[in-house]
């Protein structure tokens, strides 16, 4: 079983700060991590490899710094890694990103499964997984929260949908996008870290992928960001401090009155 896991390096969202005057995100000094949902994808891939044998290849597109994310994946147990990095890929939207990644996957070749995190915490679109499947013309099972069965011919997965779970089977090649219930990501090992340090990770640019230049980066992206602004979030909050019996009682009575006034009880 040969499994490719496309991952993304993202800023640690919890520590994202905003420049209040310009309304832009301050990227400096923000720690970069592997997109948290991608860790579940890596873990699932490693578990499948442990069961059926084979190889797991991690892939990312990003600046040279994104090598760190690939090294971390290798430290977790991934066998090989590829970085797609070139200035011309800058400004890619999900269409152009899916295009470049699917081309890299073709170049890696000979795969059975592609496993993606359902979405990345920065862009939050969840569009690249299904997008890659469409470029490769293979089926996609999204929102996978459980791998029920797997063998060399097919797998059976549960998909988390609005009203419950769908259980579906499919042969290969196939792309899965996974949500966090699917696995429990392992930590990098010392041996893995050593391997990551010494592993030569190929970096592929525009020429290596042989893509049509008009379809790359911002030029190849159908969408444009027209405007960015900060959401307004405030409303008048009636605050009470409840730290002893009397004040707790008063606060709760106030809630009861509010709920009555708004016809909620």
């Amino acid at each position: 079983m040969r499994i490719i896991v496309p991952i993304k390096q993202v800023p640690e969202t919890k520590s994202v700060r905003m420049d209040e005057s310009t309304g832009t995100v301050i990227r400096e000094g923000v720690e970069s991590i592997i997109n948290p949902l991608d860790l579940y994808a890596i873990e699932l891939a490693l578990q499948i490899k442990e069961k059926l044998g084979g190889e797991v290849v991690a892939l990312t597109m990003g600046p040279p710094k994104a090598l760190e994310a690939l090294k971390e994946a290798v430290a977790m147990g991934v066998d090989e890694a590829r970085l797609v990095s070139d200035r011309v890929f800058g400004g890619s939207d999900t269409w152009a990103t899916s295009d470049a990644l699917s081309e890299a996957i073709r170049k890696i070749g000979n795969f059975d499964l592609i496993i993606c995190g359902e979405r990345a915490t920065d862009g939050d679109t969840g569009q690249v997984g299904p997008g890659i499947a469409a470029f490769l013309d293979i089926p996609v099972l999204s929102y996978v929260n459980k791998l029920a069965e797997i063998n060399d011919d097919e797998c059976v997965v549960h998909r988390l949908i609005e009203r419950g779970e769908d259980v579906s089977s499919c042969g290969y090649p196939l792309l899965l996008t996974v949500v966090k219930e699917v696995s429990d990501p392992r930590l990098p090992t010392l041996r893995g870290k050593k391997k990551a340090k010494n592993l030569d990770i190929p970096v592929w640019g525009e020429k290596d992928l042989g893509l049509d230049a008009s379809l790359l980066g911002l030029k190849g992206s159908p969408t444009r960001v027209a405007k960015i602004f900060r959401p307004k979030v405030t409303r008048e909050c009636e605050m009470t401090v409840a730290n002893d019996h009397t004040s707790i009682e008063a606060a709760c009575a106030n809630v009861a009155e509010f709920l009555t006034r708004r016809n909620l009880i």
């Binding site: 996609v140 609005e162 444009r224 009470t240 707790i248």
Partner: protein, 335 residues
């Protein structure tokens, strides 16, 4: 590509066992507002096998000009390949200017698949949509970077322009009397094949879904440990509320993922939200702040949740909760 060759707004309705789902009516609300701005037709595409005319008429009654029902046994339920093939057929045949679908498990899988093949622009999880009157570009606004910013996205040089819209981010279009409109039933011009086989469906246990509930009690990290959950659950049950959780709570495994409220979970707009020990990370606020009535209990007076709350109680949720339950119980008796 000539933008003028593309026209009208199309929404992708969803059906489950032949019943049109509420997200379709919410999309009609969006579509109706956009139709006003663009002076064009508002059409619905729906894929299925057995959908009654009554169900289809419901879409016209709620404001659609035309309903196109693509009927095939392979389209009975969502499978990405036949659905995408049927949708691409419509794109080819009708050249839609704008296509809206729900940001549901179906919409968020089908739309990116189709957008790639149609070389169309696609924006995920939009919360607001309007047309640029000059260019006809759809201005699609969505939260980004964990809800820290809002981004307005457009598709200047490609058509169709496609967007998924957050469920519950608007109310469903009401039924209007006396509306005309056309229902077209088409069969597919190809043999739909799916490599994926759906084997069965396991419905949610009868616990109320947080997206459908009128009242939701949400716990945050203030819960401290899973063992404290029964107290909160009992309170939620008592006031007839569904139980939701912040991302922290789900990450720690105290509640399962379907309970998660926020950008990476579900958007909810119940009538009443009660947050217990929820700090109010931006990504959480993005998933609940349009709720009509918000009450928050948190030990930290600076918790962000208070910025969006109507009533804020600064205190220990475990001290406040029993008293609140008792007060509401007494209140009930008095009524």
């Amino acid at each position: 590509m000539n933008k003028n060759d593309y026209k009208d707004i199309w929404i992708v309705a969803e059906q489950w066992e032949g019943e049109i789902q509420e997200i379709s009516f919410e999309l009609l609300t969006r579509g109706i507002a956009l139709r006003e701005q663009r002076s064009c037709a508002l059409n619905v595409m729906v894929f299925g096998d057995d959908i009654s005319e009554r169900e289809l008429r419901g879409l016209l009654a709620r404001g659609a000009d035309k309903v196109l029902f693509v009927k095939d046994p392979a389209l009975k339920y969502f499978l990405v390949e036949p659905y995408a093939a049927a949708m691409l057929d419509i794109v080819e045949k009708y050249s839609p200017e704008t296509i809206l679908a729900g940001a549901t498990s179906t919409g968020r899988t089908l739309m990116p698949y189709v957008a790639v093949k149609a070389h169309a622009g696609l924006t995920a999880d939009c919360t607001s949509l309007e047309y640029d009157s000059e260019t006809g570009d759809l201005l699609q606004t969505r939260p980004a970077i964990g809800g820290n910013i809002m981004a307005t996205i457009k598709t200047p040089g490609h058509r169709p322009q496609m967007a998924t819209v957050r469920p519950k981010s608007t109310s469903p279009a009401p039924i209007l009397k006396k509306r005309g409109g056309e229902i077209v039933v088409e069969t597919t011009t190809f043999t739909p094949i799916s490599k994926i086989k759906k084997m069965k469906h396991i419905p949610n246990e009868d616990e109320i879904s947080i997206q459908d509930a009128e009242k939701v009690v949400v716990v945050g990290r203030g819960l401290k440990k899973a063992e404290n959950l029964p107290v909160v659950r009992a309170f939620a049950d008592e006031i007839g509320a569904a139980l939701g959780a912040s991302r922290d709570v789900v990450d720690r495994g105290w509640l399962s993922y379907p309970h998660q409220v926020g950008l990476s979970g579900k958007t909810i707009t119940p009538k009443l939200y009660i947050g217990l020990g929820v700090s109010g990370a931006i990504q959480h606020l993005a998933g609940m702040r349009t709720t009509e009535n918000i009450i928050a209990v948190n030990i930290d007076p600076d918790a962000q949740i208070f910025k969006v709350a109507d009533i804020g109680i600064v205190g220990d949720m475990f001290e406040v909760l029993p008293e609140l339950a008792e007060t509401l119980r007494k209140h009930e008796v008095k009524q």
